[in-house]
Amino acid sequence: MSKSAYSNPTKSGKLNTHIIVVWVDNEAGVLARVVGLFSGRGYNIESLAVAEVDSKRNISRITIVTTGTPEVIAQIKLQLKKLVPVHKVADFMRTDKMVIFKEMALIKVVGNNVKVNKAFIACKKFNPVILDKTKKSVVIQITALRREIDKLTKSLKSKGMVSVSRTGAVAMTRGSETFK
């Protein structure tokens, strides 16, 4: 038995990955409020993407990938909704087929033409776009899922990749519906 007056931790349930989308007033400190809520209450952030989406109404859209038990995810949503600048909160399971998730990455490959071409071919499945090309290098833009980019960049390491820059995931529902 414990000597503590606090209860012992109970077994935690299964962790699921969720994508939480938050519409907020784009005002000073709003990102700190959202991120501070996650760190202060011990929630995870796997990735984060934020930008203003409506400059007239000053609305930013924050997309957060997080993991947690169903109870924790429910708490995250309720706590987010309490923040004054938050308008609405949407939550999608990563496994949800009705939702599109995408991340973008910029990949720099250094090497001769052959090497660069090989790298480009490796990216073929992920909508590669060449943004910059010199005799010795190339910058390729790809869009894909997080795990796919993980895998790709791992394999490109031996193919002359010297640098990678990635965004967090963004999400949108399929079809004509929007989240209200």
Binding site: M1, K3, S7, G40, L78
Partner: protein
């Protein structure tokens, strides 16, 4: 051309429009323009504290005892950091506070200027919302929004940080106080009649119901307490209350089981454990209430009525959540029951007769009993005598944090809401003296007592000076056992009597200290003189420090020992021998 007002003037115009009558504060460089303006606004009285933490707790005492938001005014840097404890305390206990802080001029922000700190950054996790005013044009709306946010939904503290140049800058003033801002669609009244019907159905089927009420009933306003009384007497159900909820239901009523939780009564905790229907009204399943979560009230259907959606299912999964103002929900329950279930109102008392006879058996244990002494003053006895001698007055009680706080909660019976001010969530030692100052400011003619411990009281003792300055006859009733009593108790019960650093080997002479402050000092050493000295304290129309020298080794029982469910409580000294605590697990503290 409309009239232009300076930022400092706008601050006061907003306070006037919000009908603020008192301001607790401490001046400093970055708020001087606001202090300069103070003289032009006679309807607002400034109370000069001795430390900004004191201003915060005084505002809490003011707010808790009146239901109106407390207003604090502090300077930048240390002024703001000193108030952080009080803001956190108010956040945990849902007390509406509007804190206005000065800030260095906008062009110096970020340069590590003198008395600069990132006030909005520091207070972000301990306020409902905060604002740094960057443009004078924003000030009127922000000030009024601050009040709206502080008092709406689940109340709490907010902070407005105003740079010094903004206090000088001028703009037009617009009164926003009557415009309810939309608050981004935040809704606090979403309960439906369907949920009410489900609850009434559960109530009519229940054989072992219990009401478990909390601070939400106080926050909902005095009418909520009246409705609670009506609901409880109408149903005949037993009721227990959290620390913060004391006073919403009369403490001496037969349906009241006393406080529940770690130091709650045997009957309250057993009723919570064995019930088949738990109706939580404005409480939040705090860990001091639930004990071991896995074994918390295993057989009950749980209903949770709360204005804060995030309180639902946070610690304990409930079967029926009802989100709304508890007063409005209770009104709906009472109305609907009377209309739709008159048969229930006739049969309910019979339905639960067996349950009451079980509760009476638990009650017969008399779990709050203690072994009194003729030589030494027992702390429980002191609180009981204080209660008996003050109950005919409309007394307001504040406390510090520790054993004395629990004894006060157990033995002082409250009959009205807003009479009991204590730091529950954060457990802030030093809360009681400044809170008593705030209460006495709001209720100048009433008897205000801080039931204190000698260790806690020293943390904010400087506020006695405030009490003297404003002729506030607060009574500081110190249960002096020379120990940090609750720490000592845990060390005795859980750490093999290793009393590590819990004894204060040097303490001031509280009687002389009182005299030094310009108050009255009284000391009681024996049970014989206790009553007479308490009466002396009550009859002095000055601030009093009462040094009540009590038994040093007394522990606060009953107690739910660590890692145990509600039905395995430690009772008084005799019971203890049979249930010795042993084992490991220090790491969790």
């Amino acid at each position: 051309m409309p009239k232009l007002y300076s930022g400092a003037e706008i601050v006061f115009k907003c306070l006037e429009d919000q009908k603020v009558s008192h301001l607790f504060g401490y001046p400093g460089g970055a708020v001087l323009p606001i202090y300069d303006e103070l003289k032009n606004h006679p309807s607002i009285k400034h109370i000069l504290v001795r430390h900004e933490q004191g201003a915060g707790h005084a505002a809490e005492g003011y707010a808790r005892s009146t239901g109106k938001p407390g207003v604090v005014l502090v300077t930048s840097g240390p002024g703001a950091t000193n108030v952080v404890t009080a803001l956190t305390d108010a956040y945990m206990d849902s007390v509406p506070i509007v804190c206005i802080s000065g800030q260095v001029p906008t062009h110096l922000i970020g340069t590590d200027a003198f008395q600069e700190c990132d006030t909005t950054g520091i207070t972000r996790p301990c306020t409902k919302h905060n604002w740094l005013v960057k443009k004078i044009e924003d000030l009127p709306k922000i000030m009024h929004d601050a009040f709206t946010v502080a008092i709406s939904g689940r109340p709490g503290p907010v902070l407005v940080d105003i740079p010094k140049d903004i206090q000088f800058a001028k703009t037009v003033y617009k009164n926003f106080s009557n415009k309810v801002s939309k608050q981004n669609g935040k809704n606090h009244k979403s309960f439906s009649i369907n949920e009410i019907n489900k609850l009434i159905d559960l109530m009519s089927k229940s054989k072992k119901p219990v009401f478990y009420t909390g601070g939400g009933v106080v926050n909902s306003g005095p009418e909520a307490s009246n409705l609670l009384r009506e609901l409880v007497s109408m149903t005949g159900f037993p009721i227990t209350s959290t620390l913060q909820g004391l006073g919403c239901f009369p403490g001496d009523d037969n349906q009241f089981l006393g406080m529940l939780g770690m130091h709650g009564t045997y009957e309250a905790n057993n009723a919570m454990h064995d019930c088949d229907l738990m109706i939580n009204i404005g409480a939040r399943f705090d860990d001091r209430i639930t004990g071991k979560i896995d074994e918390f009230s295993p057989k009950s259907k749980k209903v949770h009525i709360d204005i804060d959606p995030s309180s639902i299912n946070k610690n304990i999964k409930v079967d029926l959540p009802i989100i709304g103002d508890v007063g409005e929900v209770m009104q709906s329950i009472i109305k609907t029951t009377k209309k739709n279930k008159p048969s229930f109102l006739k049969s309910n008392k019979q339905n639960i007769a067996k349950w009451w006879s079980q509760i009476d058996k638990w009650r017969a244990k008399k779990s709050l009993n203690f072994i009194n002494s003729e030589k030494k003053i027992m702390p429980q006895h002191a609180v009981q005598r204080l209660y008996e001698l003050t109950k005919k007055f409309d007394t307001y009680v504040t406390t510090e944090v520790g054993q004395h706080q629990m004894w006060a909660a157990q033995h002082y019976k409250f009959n009205k809401p807003n009479r009991w001010m204590t730091s529950g969530g954060l457990g802030t030692m030093g809360y009681g003296v400044p809170a008593a100052v705030g209460v006495q400011i709001a209720h100048p003619k009433k008897l205000v007592i801080d039931i204190a411990g000698e260790a806690s009281v020293l943390m904010t003792m400087q506020e006695m000076s405030t009490a003297v300055q404003y002729n506030l006859p607060i009574k500081i009733f110190i249960l002096n056992n020379e120990y940090m009593g609750m720490v000592r108790q845990w060390q005795e019960l859980l750490h093999e009597k290793n009393y590590s650093e819990s004894y204060s080997a040097a303490l001031p002479d509280f009687v002389k200290l009182a005299e030094a402050y310009g108050c009255v000092g009284i000391r009681a050493k024996t049970p014989d003189e206790l009553d007479e000295k308490i009466l002396e304290m009550i009859n002095v129309d000055k601030p009093v420090i009462f040094d009540c020298v009590v038994d040093q080794n007394e522990n606060c029982f009953p107690m739910i020992p660590s890692g145990k469910p509600h039905n395995q409580m430690l009772l008084g000294p005799q019971d203890q021998k049979s249930k010795k605590i042993s084992g490991e697990g220090k790491k969790l503290v």
